[in-house]
């Protein structure tokens, strides 16, 4: 009822059709080393930490050394321990969580994660600390490139995360850890 009324009113009131502009292409030049450095710079500016290691071979030993007790959702057995219907009270106990990131965005230090990366959508938000492993080759220049990668995604949920959860609602003082992760670490391999 309301639907028809609203649509009818729009039809009567809308302006003459103007064309939809064609896609806004990514203007920046692609330079692999440039992208990684830019990503790291911006990530630092938004409060995130970054490690860069030499290739995938070193990743496992690096992770074991630096994040020994972490809950690693790159491993299938962790999914069994935290199934999709896992009670949220249990998720609320999560301290350091490791996720496999899909790609990063150089212009804003964000990483894309969709729900193929965690069994429950709360995981990336409820953990105290978030560690995202990211293949350094998977860094795109800007959001135009980012959406051409993630845009046709058909999962029910996906998110760009750039830095730790933050707020400046008290007198514009920046504080990390408003509701989500207090700390975010990106491990580039």
């Amino acid at each position: 009822m309301d639907r028809d009324k609203i649509l009818q009113a729009i039809r009567e009131n809308k302006a003459k059709t103007t064309p939809l502009p064609k896609f806004f292409g990514s203007l920046a030049e692609k330079q692999d080393t440039g992208l990684i450095n830019r990503f790291k710079d911006i990530l630092q500016q938004v409060g995130g930490d970054c490690f860069e290691i030499n290739g995938a071979e070193e990743l496992n030993s690096f992770m074991e050394e630096h994040f020994p007790g972490a809950t690693d959702f790159r491993k299938k057995e962790t999914w069994k321990e935290f199934p999709p219907d896992c009670p949220k009270e249990k998720l609320a106990q999560l301290k350091t969580v490791v996720l496999g990131g899909q790609f990063g965005v150089a212009e804003n230090g964000a990483v894309w994660l969709d729900e193929t990366r965690f069994p429950n959508r709360l995981v990336p938000f409820i953990a105290e600390e978030l560690v995202v492993c990211l293949n350094a080759k998977e860094i795109v220049c800007d959001m135009h490139e980012a959406y051409s990668k993630s845009g046709k995604n058909t999962t029910g949920f996906g998110v760009f995360i750039s830095g730790p959860s933050k707020t400046a609602d008290i007198e514009q003082n920046l504080v990390f850890g408003a509701h989500g992760a207090k700390k975010i670490v990106i491990v580039l391999y």
Partner: protein, 463 residues
């Protein structure tokens, strides 16, 4: 009459706080400038965003239908609300159907506009605003004073006292880190208890039926993913055609709003969680009517970044509450009179028409032109105060005839110099309320010109 000018006067009484407010927002504006300048294609991005919105509004019915179909295909339930009353009923209906009484809500100006919180509270439903700034003003039973920084009018000492009373934090501890940690604990409990989560929407994508929500705190996601039922409230003007178009708007939004390259979280909700419900409520509430006003249609492009507020010399020096409308500042001053012309007929005058709002607007809304247009429309409709109307009429007559103008100038020069101060700074002299009138020259420009230049030609020899 408690119009903008009066309430701005109240705000300015605390000159120290007013100066702080002004400076703080100016810092945010400068951060925005820095970000905008770091993107070489900034101006073409703005143009692109403006054109996408222009096109979407011209095909809005089709995009809404497409969005509706896609969202349902994704497993969401889509509801349509013609006005605020219908919207409130739909949301409370969903809550009641799920036998829920505990609701968390992330920031949504639309729910403010429709008065959702008081409506739900009357029915015994507990609504907790989860954005830190919003929680603060909810405790204080105040409306937001800024759409992005809702508690920007408050000092940390006031928040410390408030939290001491409400959350039992230490008395006299005003440290923002300490207070934020206390709010985190308090709201974490609310997230875990909530049965329904409500969010606003930044963008709704017709192509995929996705709704996109941007936050820095992560409060929208904590709510949505913890509660079994999620409700997204979206105004019809939030539609965009394609996922690729998101790239343009996401690049513009946070840079314009707070000078960040992107918000911490940019969440794309496409379908319900396993075993959960996802509802989308599409709301008109006057927007389709606004769409028919050719001169003001552009205002519907707004993506609610708040950049026009941060840059506005009037907003910065009068505070968001002085506007009395849900959305304050320049964009609020052109939106509010569409819904309640009588209540907000003074807002288009709460501007210096400097045009800075239009310069920073990421979707290129002609904000200051619309403010100027409103003034003319309101005058024609006799919707401005009689004092202003008669003064303008008189000024019009004086400025139209050169004899009248010369005579009035002479009178004014004589009057300001010779009349008693009390008479010059009378109640009608609004200009002289907070400042001194300029010193009076001995003669007018015309007299000076006649005396010194007539017949001699200008210094550069022109006649």
């Amino acid at each position: 009459m408690t119009g903008h000018a009066h309430k701005a006067g109240q705000f300015l009484k605390n000159s120290e706080r007013a100066a702080w407010h002004d400076e703080t927002l100016w810092i945010v504006r400068r951060k925005r400038d820095k970000m905008a300048r770091a993107v070489p294609e900034w101006e073409s991005l703005r143009e692109q965003a403006s054109q996408i919105k222009q096109h979407t509004l011209s095909e809005l019915d089709n995009y809404l239908v497409q969005f509706d179909g896609q969202a349902q295909k994704n497993g969401a339930q889509v509801h349509w609300a013609g006005d605020a009353a219908r919207f409130n009923e739909i949301v409370s209906g969903i809550i009641k159907k799920n036998n829920a009484t505990k609701v968390v809500k992330s920031k949504s100006m639309l729910t403010e506009e429709c008065g959702l919180n008081p409506f739900l509270e009357k029915q015994g439903i507990e609504v907790t605003d989860t954005d830190l700034g919003e929680r603060i003003i909810q405790f204080r039973k105040e409306p937001p004073s800024h759409i992005v920084m809702p508690a920007i009018h408050l000092k940390k000492e006031e928040i410390g006292e408030l939290f001491h009373e409400k959350l039992h934090t230490e008395e006299g501890n005003f440290d923002p880190t300490y207070l934020t940690a206390a709010a985190r604990l308090h709201l974490r409990q609310k997230f875990l208890e909530a049965e329904v989560a409500i969010t606003g929407v930044n963008f709704a994508v017709a192509e995929t039926g996705a709704v996109v929500v941007c936050t820095n705190e992560g409060n929208a996601d904590m709510g949505v993913h913890a509660a079994p039922v999620q409700i997204h409230c979206v105004g019809i003007e939030k539609m965009i055609p394609r996922m690729d178009d998101l790239g343009v708007f996401i690049r513009l939004l946070a840079r314009s709003a707070t000078g960040q390259p992107i918000t911490t979280y940019t969440s794309h909700y496409m379908g319900p969680k396993p075993g959960g419900q996802m509802h989308i409520v599409i709301v008109d509430n006057g927007r389709s009517e606004h769409l028919g006003k050719e001169n003001y249609r552009n205002a519907l492009k707004c993506i609610r970044c708040g950049a026009c507020m941060n840059t506005c010399p009037v907003y910065r020096r009068s505070g968001g509450h002085s506007y009395g409308s849900v959305i304050p500042g320049p964009i609020g001053s052109i939106l509010a009179p569409h819904s309640h012309i009588k209540n907000y007929n003074d807002l288009p005058f709460a501007s210096s028409l400097c045009g800075s709002c239009s310069d920073v607007c990421p979707v290129k809304i002609d904000i200051h032109d619309q403010l100027y247009r409103w003034r003319q429309d309101l005058s024609e409709k006799k919707r401005v105060s009689p004092g202003k109307r008669h003064t303008m009429k008189m000024a019009g007559k004086i400025l139209a005839g050169s004899k009248m103008y010369d005579f009035s100038g002479k009178m004014a020069r004589w009057g300001i110099k010779n009349l008693p101060r009390k008479l010059v700074y009378n109640r009608l002299n609004v200009w002289g309320k907070e400042r001194e009138l300029p010193e009076v020259p001995k003669e007018s420009f015309k007299q000076w010109y006649k005396r010194t230049r007539q017949g001699k030609g200008g210094e550069n020899g022109q006649g």
